[in-house]
Symmetry: C2
């Protein structure tokens, strides 16, 4: 596993500075005591309310510095990666933010954090500050462990205590609520990989087909190995373990946490699985999915559940300053709206007859079907040899639908041909021709003469397709043909298209379409099959007017 960093010993400081420099809230600062003391704090804090201080080892970002701001933490103390900050660092944070209203320390249940935050608390008390501490031990992975780890459920405490502090509640009240919130929280993690630490060798302990359930946020081994199951099965297993810790009659908030390297696509898929799981019946609020308390680059996620009451629900829903907090969302039915009905323009116009138009269409289609093998041969020299077949398929599809076409209405006929080709030919060429005919139809309807309407279609095709004359595509025949048509007649167009197609043989570099990926020497001397198809079509068109 590779990492973006400079030096191992400056990672945390650089990351904190990057956070401070890009946090839009603009009210964050840090204490000037690098490298020993790494404290992020609200720069708009006036100590009039209860201060909330959390922290711990780094590697769990945005926890905890990302949650400093209005309505959440007052300060966050960071250690090095996965190592507790010193008691001196914690004490410095307490001193910086604690006024007469006092300070609540929110500590994840790891020995190092408990002791260092604890010693800092005792020293701060000795200095006369009011300090309380709540220990969060929400991980249910190891049911026999007398001291469960503190993981992402800690964020429930940050959020609810933050709301109460903002509302001006006193320290005793906030500490009491925080302790009860911590007690009513249960979390469980799972991962498909362990995490690696920047600058350290990493040996992945999980095999190709293995995942781990109940692992901690420091890469500690999980409580059990499981197979790489479907997202639904994984969530179902986790739901079963968590359900044991739920009060059957109660309502819950679920926090869906990306442990570091799960792509957003998969995180919302996991969220969907959670809301389809057995837990869903009790879930009233969701928070996330998102990276809330990560474990470096762990490819896993955790679920944290908090029992709700009215106070907790409104505290969780309250807006906050830190953007890292993903706002809580009330569970509600999916809003699914019917697909709008469009005017099916081709179906809207009834079939009609027009002998001249029919003759033209038949002639062009027959010709394009006849040259299938020739065009394929041309294409085989520079592509995959199927241009002739694609063109013939398109021509046959139009021929087959001839009786349904509104031939008396040229605009409607062009539109219908566009629809037929986009379906029958498929791929880029089908869509390009469909754009050509659809836009030409629209221009004709708008009052343009046919040659100018076709030029308008060409302009749209050029715009969307991106090819210009000279790029070795069908445009090289179509562009001169339509210009000749507008200024002369069909025989001029036919001749111009033939010249245009021939000229592609001398074009050294394709700039669009598939041949753009080929070298010069593979192309030189070969006529572009798309341009040749256009020339064949105009050739056929010109013959319609001639004596048989």
């Amino acid at each position: 596993m590779k990492h973006f960093f400079n030096r191992r010993d400056t990672i945390v400081m650089e990351a904190i500075d990057g956070l401070l420099r890009t946090a839009a809230s603009g009210n964050l600062g840090r204490i000037d005591a690098y490298p020993d003391i790494k404290v992020v704090l609200r720069s708009d804090w006036d100590k009039s309310k209860v201060a909330l201080v959390s922290g711990g080892g780094a590697g769990h970002e945005p926890s905890h510095a990302g949650f400093v701001g209005k309505g959440m933490l007052t300060a966050a103390v960071s250690g090095e990666i996965f190592a507790s900050p010193s008691s001196e660092a914690v004490l410095t944070a307490i001193r910086a933010v604690t006024g007469p209203a006092g300070c609540l320390l929110i500590v994840k249940n790891y020995t190092g954090d408990r002791l260092n935050f604890g010693l800092a608390a005792e020293k701060a008390r000795a200095e006369g500050l009011q300090v309380e501490m709540v220990i969060v031990a929400d991980d249910i992975a190891l049911p026999e462990l007398p001291q469960p780890r503190g993981v992402a459920g800690t964020l429930f405490v940050h959020k609810i205590a933050g709301h109460l502090s903002e509302a001006g509640k006193d320290l005793a009240t906030i500490a009491d609520v925080a302790r009860r919130v911590a007690a009513d929280t249960a979390s469980l993690g799972m991962s498909l990989s362990s995490c690696s630490i920047p600058g350290q060798n990493h040996e992945e302990r999980l095999g190709e087909g293995e995942g781990e359930l109940g692992l901690g946020i420091h890469g500690e081994p999980g409580v059990e190995r499981i197979g790489v199951l479907s997202a639904t099965e994984l969530v179902s297993i986790m739901a079963g373990r968590l359900a044991v810790h739920l009060d059957p009659g109660a309502r819950y908030a679920v926090l869906i946490n990306n442990l570091g390297a799960v792509p957003p696509l998969e995180m919302t898929l996991i969220a969907n699985a959670v809301l389809n799981s057995a837990l869903a019946a009790q879930i009233e609020l969701t928070i996330g999915p998102g990276p809330l308390m990560t474990a470096l680059n762990m490819n896993g996620f955790s679920l944290s559940l908090l029992k709700l009451d009215a106070e907790r629900t409104s505290a969780l829903l309250a807006p906050v300053g830190p953007h890292a907090w993903t706002p809580a969302c009330k569970v509600r039915p999916l809003a699914v709206v019917p697909a709008p009905k469009g005017e099916d323009l081709s179906a809207a116009v009834a079939a009609s007859k027009n002998a001249a138009a029919e003759q033209v269409i038949i002639a062009v289609c027959r010709r394009l079907i006849a040259v299938e093998a020739d065009l394929n041969r041309l294409d085989a020299k520079a592509g995959d040899g199927d241009t002739g077949t694609t063109v013939a398929i398109g021509a046959r599809s139009v021929q087959d639908r001839l009786a349904d076409l509104p031939l008396a209405d040229t605009s409607a006929t062009l539109s219908a041909i566009g629809s037929i080709l986009s379906t029958s030919m498929g791929g880029s060429s089908g869509v390009l021709l469909s754009i050509f005919f659809t836009a030409a139809s629209k221009a004709l309807q708008g009052g343009a003469r046919l040659p100018h309407a076709l030029l308008a279609g060409l302009a749209r095709m050029t715009f969307y397709g991106g090819a210009q004359p000279g790029d070795r595509t069908m445009i090289d025949a179509l562009h001169p043909a339509l210009n000749a048509l507008a200024n002369g007649g069909i025989p001029d167009a036919a001749e111009a298209s033939r010249h245009g197609a021939q000229a592609t043989a001398a074009m050294r570099k394709a700039k669009a379409g598939r041949s753009a990926y080929l070298g010069d020497d593979q192309l030189l001397g070969v006529v572009d099959p798309g341009a040749q198809a256009v020339a064949e079509a105009f050739g056929a068109l010109a013959k319609v007017g001639e004596p048989a």
Copy 2:
């Protein structure tokens, strides 16, 4: 690379539903046309303003569905992973959100997207709707490519066009601004891994020491291989490539995009490197870092730069509904505040004499130094055999500082011993003893008698350390000793501590401290060395009163 999903063919639908069910804004819905048509749209949209529709292949989440909401997109059309949505899907989205004010399509420059969005636009126009399209081609990786790819810079267009739509501007104005924004945007990506697709075999094309510069968001190979350099060096190379595309006198916004699997810790470190790079002089706004336009699980990032003017700056700074947009942040100096000065309680009290106290301290320290080897031997049976050494180091450090202690002031002396031990002993035991002495000092100062003050210290040590009597720790000697002291005298305390220490030999399971990780049979019959140290200390204390 392992992925969280159920079935390949339902990934995108499940992910979209998960997004809709957890988006706090609560104003998102989707069109009822799964699986062919995957369109997310604002459910609060009244068609009175210009609709903004974007989209493309999936795998780039939160792009684009995550950016649907007030002030950004009106609808997003998703294809399957890395595959353009059909023109029918795009047309459905256009029909659903377009009113008299018209619709702007914002399309990344990939052939499939251009054609399918293009055909949909032409069909919508044929139906009488006003539709414009802007193509974003911001990737500078391949300077010779006539059609640069569209990548994360597309989000500048979403944001600015979204702001103008919200402000009630007309379609022509918005389309014009959007095209100029697209033209003034330059992006470049780099990665340490390619991305893998759920359910497909993946072969990593990058070696252990390789990264790739200028790769696309679909896992296409980059323009060049580079070594795994430091973050600063990588950013510097990218800054050099991007600088060529900047107007020297102009100000820029930079969007710092996580391509999928970079941990948040490293993303803010990268942001810091960007703001220390040569680009910084021209950067006025930052957006991110965050996952804005990902490429599944790519371990890489991209930088996108937009030339600013007053209109663009205020549009970028305007708040929006979608949480996936990380608010723009004005570049400003780091707020660094001085570390607060605490009362250094140990230094505050001057050294003073007290013969009795001195005698006690010397006796205890000598004894603890004398039993170093014995305690180490005990510890070796269940731990790493260093308890005696740690205790002796602590005892020596107190002995060495005897002349500096304020011995006439017991509270100050306890506090000073706490400070000395936390520094000299280090580790958990140093902090625990420091908590004990600091809290006892505070209680003594508050008026408690010495034995009760020491019990208060024990209570804090127990709370922070988490061990209870019976957990096979020093508490098992300290707890009975201090209770005996409070109810009797020093000889009672000494005897109680001796009994307490002996009792640990019969404790089958350690519940706290290091031995918690050992099996029962390794512990049985072995006295806990921490408890034994306490018994030795009280034994020495008892001898002070006896005749020599």
